[in-house]
Symmetry: C2
Amino acid sequence: MTETGGHHIVIVGGGFGGLEAAHRLAAGPFRITVLDRRNHHLFQPLLYQAATASLALSEIAWPIRSLLRRHRNATTLLGAVCGVDPTQKAVLLDGGQRVSYDTLILATGARHAYFGHDEWEPYAPGLKTLEDATTIRRRILSAFERAEWQTEAQERRRLLTFAIIGAGPTGVELAGTIAELAHETLRRDFRHIDTREARVVLVEAGPRILAAFTEDLSAYAERALVRLGVEVRTGHTVSQCSADGIELGGEFLPAATILWAAGVAASPVAEWLKVPADRAGRVIVAPDLSVPGFPDIFVIGDTAHVSMADGRTVPGIAPAAKQEGRYVAGVIRARHDGKPAPKPFAYRNDGNLATIGKRAAIVDLGWIKLRGRLAWWTWGIAHVYFLIGLRNRLAVALSWLWIYSTGQRSARLITGMEAEPPERNQP
Amino acid sequence: MTETGGHHIVIVGGGFGGLEAAHRLAAGPFRITVLDRRNHHLFQPLLYQAATASLALSEIAWPIRSLLRRHRNATTLLGAVCGVDPTQKAVLLDGGQRVSYDTLILATGARHAYFGHDEWEPYAPGLKTLEDATTIRRRILSAFERAEWQTEAQERRRLLTFAIIGAGPTGVELAGTIAELAHETLRRDFRHIDTREARVVLVEAGPRILAAFTEDLSAYAERALVRLGVEVRTGHTVSQCSADGIELGGEFLPAATILWAAGVAASPVAEWLKVPADRAGRVIVAPDLSVPGFPDIFVIGDTAHVSMADGRTVPGIAPAAKQEGRYVAGVIRARHDGKPAPKPFAYRNDGNLATIGKRAAIVDLGWIKLRGRLAWWTWGIAHVYFLIGLRNRLAVALSWLWIYSTGQRSARLITGMEAEPPERNQP
């Protein structure tokens, strides 16, 4: 697909970084094409709420092309990129199409990773897409439904055991929300089981949960989780996942629902370009976020390895991706205008937030640390504020107020074909 | 699964009829079990809006068990019924379970039917479930996405042709809404195609659309559809459906998206009981809606053939199913209390409504006929009013006001694996 006129910037990926770059560049004298394998931008920080039946899918995702509608110089194309031809300056798609570029921005994100145990994926789904959220929601709700039928006590207990592997923000949010679902929301809905007997076990290999936070905030979060009824097992490595449950350090934990929140791997951009990557597969970019050896190609977001002055790397979170998108747009505009290159990219840490159920959260803004209800409201307001689109802000605010005041959840639908995880081995 | 105490009423199906019976009977001295293969009650009259990206799935469906939560004598079980053993008085489930009953109400509804052409289903999906709605939404939106890539004019035209087969309320609603989507909502979102060039073709074998309405209302609805840009082809029978398009009376219409709204068949209750059925597979019930020969088994809703005094049958619509559910609850209570049986079931026609896009509708209440904007508002208020649950009424009202005032649609998400219909034959 080739068109004439203007410097053509191709952006692969309509996540936080790609969209931010598109919005910034669309104001300039460029032709812009945004390619994504999905038709929607996803507000990933709230994905766990869709997975736990608090929000509808359409409350946290929007068609990319409608977000870019007002930019007449921006084209959105739905398609899966499978490679780059830097010599011919073209992006290659699954369907065999080629899209030529003058400048390329790769913002293709990350998927969850199983550290060499890909065979665990069917038993322990991760959470990155709307489909993942639908799968996890279905598994959680189906486990209660199956327990309601089950007359054998041991199997019923296994059906009511939820193991979450990895205690970063996603793992903590999932564990807290599942505990609330079991202990509050569903409490009066079943007749043969007491959903309050459900076990929610959060497993973490490291010494404490939410390791990105200070030790006291992390300890507070753990106490808040325990109050919600979550069993926190830090310092435990999972050695086996199956349809029956998980194995941690010699102990076997029977669990029908296993969720994976333990790690991510970057998209295969480094392989496409045959350039060096770090252990998570992220491309090691130059200080201006271009790829060494390919000045016309930039990599941003979760698939870029960006070093900071203190030797650490920029974290894989939405605000970082947005800052990178904005920065790269500035570099491209400066080049095009013949102006001197901006200073190297510097990440500004605007703060770190995590929520534990609907009453507690921790917030670290550097100059102030918050915890408890005030932190929860800060977290809630920040997230609603950053949601795109007036209507969705209203809808999400309405959903949350509803959940908060009634304990009910609106999106408790089991949909899709796969009703339960793969059959367990018969004993 | 057997429990002690009280007369046990098993209701199969949590649709309009089954739920109404459950609510009415729960006030009495009964144990009630509601079985459904899905965990949610679906507000089917608005399903076409979910299929056309106007409403989110969770705005038109609610967990059955949460709808029945306050009735402590009512149990909800998720399970697929595959037969009835009237001798042992038990319901049989796919998973091998048996549920015994004292009285059984079968309210298992209908599926769309292809009149001996089941091979058309992959090319022309029908609309009965949330999964159907997701599939149809994905196909409609994907067709526009694929057209945006397509450089060959003839194939682009095929991708932008939508054929809807059957001009009952569902077909008319789908055609009107797709026309609005193409001509208004998506108008500014694409760069290579003009979505206003999309063709929406509504095919009907009978002589006029919406045959359940009077001739003048039906003629008005046809004019309203034409104003929206729909091509109405009455008196045309479809003789072939394929990945390439449809054949009607010798003419071939190339169309990438084909939707089936031409007919339904009842669930296999008649086969389970080995009792007489009509041509649509509906059980021919006695005047008290019980099954002749099985006084303890009632059949209601879309799977029952109920004759009226004038020789016609009760229509397969939500208000009829609710009336039948209420009536059967009365019969069962009278029997239990040793009172005389109520008079035979008599259907009360509360009116007939259909909508054509977001500006026109037709309403026939018997004593008054409405059309145009006033009819649309009557239709909208009636539907929001009958929605279950305060929050959903608010959410749907909000969604509609948004769509009505901005022309935008909130739920334009392509999800699920299948991105497009089965591959077409290569020319």
